[in-house]
């Protein structure tokens, strides 16, 4: 389904999606983030600070509550995610491509109930990048594109005064059908313009990871390279790179206690990540990844070697967040290229 939507009518579209919680990019405190909106959506945003991964994989997820009276067995009560449907507007292609990658992880081997329960209720309404929004974008070199539709339910393309709106999935069709009257059929000129815009977007120069197909082998060969520590020397282990990444999915599970006697509390999942120094530390104090070099290597190798080995695609989608937001300038493109270049 391909349609044209007058830019002025986008709010009407949103208003028509009455059973949906609509999330759109909002500029607040100098940063762009996805927040609930009701009309007046602005889609002139660069990439948001945080990816939209939190909708299916929130930073904090309560698994269950537990209660126990002294001398009795504990009582567990599952906490089930609510059934609210969310439609996220303005998802950039790289973030869109993050979605199937998260799906792979959370469905591999066994299905993660909590992820699935939320994921099935999220629709991603994407916005193609007419021009890479950041100097650190590199989607093309990791198999993506500024006009990719991977992971999206709808793709919108900005044609100046109107959007070219394309349904990618059934969910997407449903979203468009909810306000069918607002949409117009695209003319031949529209079609031509979309092609033109897309072609220009793809042609726009980007930074690049070189020869991404060869990277897994090169990384594998560089496991012991001293370059890792050299490149990671400035890393402060803050994990910003992973918290903001659309595809990082590591987490922690902890019990939070509200009352000791009678015992009352919850078991919660929270985001965690491989850049935190104690992520892999055994209780004995032994840490398999004991320095920033090993941890940077893990992040990069996970994205560019292990994930491809398991799922046949790099996990990184080239959004460039980890580069732009790293407080000390650790630059994944640079790291991958350097290590690959130096590989035996």
């Amino acid at each position: 389904m391909e349609k044209i939507l007058d830019k002025k009518r986008i709010d009407d579209w949103i208003a028509a999606l009455d059973n949906w919680d609509i999330q759109g990019p909002v500029l607040e405190d100098d940063i762009w983030s996805y927040q609930p909106v009701s009309g007046a959506v602005r889609l002139d945003h660069p990439n948001t600070k945080q990816s939209p991964k939190g909708l299916a994989f929130p930073q904090r997820e309560i698994f269950f509550k537990f209660e126990q009276i002294k001398g009795e067995a504990p009582r567990l009560t599952q906490v089930v995610p609510d059934e609210q449907r969310h439609a996220v507007f303005g998802v950039r292609p790289c973030d869109g491509r993050g979605v199937p990658r998260m799906d792979l992880v959370f469905n591999d081997h066994v299905e993660d109930n909590y992820y699935q329960a939320r994921r099935k209720n999220v629709a991603y309404v994407g916005l193609a990048c007419n021009k890479p929004p950041s100097a650190n974008c590199f989607c093309l070199s990791v198999g993506g594109s500024p006009v990719s539709t991977d992971g999206l339910d709808v793709q919108m393309t900005d044609l100046g005064d109107r959007y070219f709106v394309k349904a990618i999935t059934e969910t997407g069709k449903g979203l468009m059908a909810a306000a069918g009257k607002l949409f117009a059929e695209p003319s031949a000129a529209d079609q031509k313009q979309v092609k033109q815009v897309h072609a220009e977007a793809v042609a726009y120069p980007q930074r690049a990871v070189r020869n991404v197909e060869e990277v897994p082998a090169k990384l594998k060969a560089s496991f012991k390279s001293p370059l890792w520590q050299e490149l990671a020397q400035a890393c402060i282990g803050c994990g910003i790179c992973t918290f903001l990444c659309p595809t990082c999915h590591c987490f922690d599970i902890n019990d939070e206690v509200q009352s000791k006697a009678p015992l009352k509390g919850i078991r919660v999942r929270t985001w965690d990540n491989c850049q935190f120094p104690d992520f892999t530390m055994h209780s004995s104090g032994h840490n398999p990844r004991e320095n920033t070099g090993a941890r940077l290597r893990q992040r990069v190798a996970h994205k560019f070697q292990y994930f491809p080995e398991n799922f046949g695609m790099p996990q990184c989608t080239g959004c460039g967040r980890c580069i732009s937001e790293c407080p000390v300038g650790i630059d994944i493109i640079n790291v991958v290229n350097k290590v690959a270049e130096n590989a035996a």
């Binding site: 309560i62 509550k65 509200q258 009352k264 509390g265």
Partner: protein
């Protein structure tokens, strides 16, 4: 909470062992009545009160926190209360700064001879806290 029940602020009161705790004992011996809102925790010295205790009490839902110790110059450990005075001043400033009502944190000097003063300090504190209502700014949300 039934309708008639009035709001009763919950106070954690850190009392030093030598002066204020003894002062509160004197209030008891003298049978001076004061509100039951403050639960005392006796510590060796006000100097032993980490600012973390204050934060933690608020985090766990205290409506008010009281720190009470020996008058300056009377510290059993010579200078513990001097150190406390500085630390408590800082935490108090910080709490006010982020918009916590200044009346939620209180410090007083109550000597072992000041039973009546102890009762008054608690009474005043409770009276000052009542109009503020429950403290929910720093309180951990109930798990829902």
């Amino acid at each position: 909470m039934s309708e008639q029940q009035v709001y009763e602020p919950r106070i954690v009161a850190f009392l030093c062992k030598w002066c204020s705790s003894a002062g509160s004992d004197l209030a008891g011996v003298s049978r001076i009545q004061y509100p039951a809102n403050a639960t005392p925790i006796t510590v060796p010295c006000t100097g032993a009160i980490s600012p973390m205790y204050i934060m933690s009490a608020f985090n766990k839902g205290a409506d008010g926190v009281l720190v009470s110790g020996c008058h300056i110059g009377d510290c059993h450990y010579i200078e513990g209360n001097y150190l406390a005075r500085r630390k408590m001043k800082l935490i108090m400033e910080l709490l006010e700064f982020i918009g916590v009502e200044p009346n939620r944190f209180r410090m007083s000097w109550v000597s072992a001879a000041e039973g009546a003063k102890f009762a008054k300090v608690v009474t005043d504190f409770v009276n000052d806290l009542k109009p503020l209502g429950p403290q929910d700014k720093l309180k951990k949300a109930e798990h829902t």
